[in-house]
């Protein structure tokens, strides 16, 4: 290898390193607890769309003193829901496709009662560029869709979550933003777990599921006979 080639490669590597040094890249990592709940007697399909799986937010530096921030939350979001939902429902099936009327068979094969599709609808944050201390705040608004196996939209609702770095003491900025994101995800999970059954459309769906179950378990002999009153 010639000397000029080695120099060129070295320069390229140095430029890449310098460019990397200008941005803070954080891939959110955390551990999420399994919820302590009475499980709902349903098999729930879950579909994480590519936007959700790869969710990230990017803050571009506005001055030379500031740095760019890229925070990838997608992996942690999926990890949190994959821990939360099995603690809430009897069975969870991860689906590769969104239920649609033309793909009923694919979803029906999985024998799911409904399909949940979570989205991050909005995200707001404050980073040290704004606050000057290593305390980050993240606020998220989730939009959830619940589909019937035939693709019919059963419910569509939103929920919020909030997370703040618990302490600024001896923390790197990256660790601080990671902690704030983990706190926000825990809050999202808590809000979803305790309020899912309170969503009016979800309540209606659960009632219809209960009456269907009742009908299917009732034996023909159990059907009440109505006698017409003779005049």
């Amino acid at each position: 290898m010639s000397g000029s080639m080695i120099t060129a490669r070295f320069l390229t590597a140095a430029v890449v390193l310098l460019l990397g040094a200008c941005a803070n890249n954080v891939v959110v990592h955390g551990s999420f607890p399994t919820p302590v709940l009475e499980k709902l007697p349903y098999t729930l399909g879950v579909y994480y769309d590519p936007d959700f799986r790869n969710h990230e937010f990017f803050e571009e530096a506005t001055s030379r003193e500031e740095t760019d921030w890229r925070v990838k939350t997608g992996e942690a979001q999926v990890q949190m829901y994959n821990t939360l939902l099995p603690g809430m429902f009897e069975k969870i099936v991860i689906l590769n496709d969104l239920p649609r009327r033309d793909r009923v068979a694919a979803v029906a094969e999985e024998q799911v009662d409904a399909v949940l599709v979570p989205h991050v609808a909005e995200l707001q944050y404050s980073i040290p560029n704004h606050t000057k201390i290593n305390v980050f705040e993240i606020w998220m608004r989730y939009r959830y869709e619940l589909y019937a196996p035939d693709g019919e939209l059963l419910a569509d609702w939103t929920m919020t979550s909030y997370g703040k770095t618990p302490t600024a003491f001896l923390q790197s900025a990256e660790a601080a933003v990671n902690l704030a994101a983990v706190v926000a995800l825990r809050d999202a999970g808590a809000n979803f777990a305790l309020n899912f059954t309170r969503v009016p459309e979800v309540k209606l769906w659960m009632e219809s599921m209960a009456s269907k179950a009742k009908e299917s378990t009732a034996e023909p002999g159990d059907t009440p006979n109505f006698e017409e009153d003779s005049p």
Partner: protein
Amino acid sequence: MRIRKFLPLTCLLALQGCVTSSVDEVLYRGTEANLGDASVVILGRRHASDYETEPDFIECVGDHIHSADSSINVMSELEFMNALYPWFEPRTAPLRPEDIERLLQVKPVVAKLQEMKTEYMVWIDGETIRTEGSGSMTCGIGPGGAGCFGFGTWGNDSHYEAAIWHFTDRVEVGRMSTTATGQSYMPAVIIPIPIIAPVQSTACDSLGEQLLHFFSAKY
């Protein structure tokens, strides 16, 4: 030799700022003389929008109690919150002892609490804030070396309140509070010398001591 050993410690003690603290206590029931194998959990309140009780402070109070009386089983805050997720998160935690009733309607929660043998729950609410600060300091670096010159001072205020809930009886059995204030200084002639007032740790020791009197048979 002994003098040399103690000299840094003496200097460190001499360089601490002064702190004044006070404690207050109301008990609705007698102190607990025998906890047996039951456990106590100390939790921080984080539902307010403008402040959060620091997790370090909660850990400090728990450590203070357990180090003074190792027979008291103090559960770590995070361990407890994880074991009972999502019932003790900032948005879902019970705010009144009567709210425990709602928790006890969930069978897995009851089983978990029985397994953990939680008898008392201590909710600590408060924070340490930095108050007025003044002074200025300039630092420079040159071929001959680096150094700072100036003087800075600031104050810290701690205010914490602990509410003790008896888990089985679902009642509040006592309330304690502590306040601590202190002034820290930082003179700098080439090297900055921080003279820090240990305000938060004084508040932690005061509250920890009060709780120890409630829970420990030794005190």
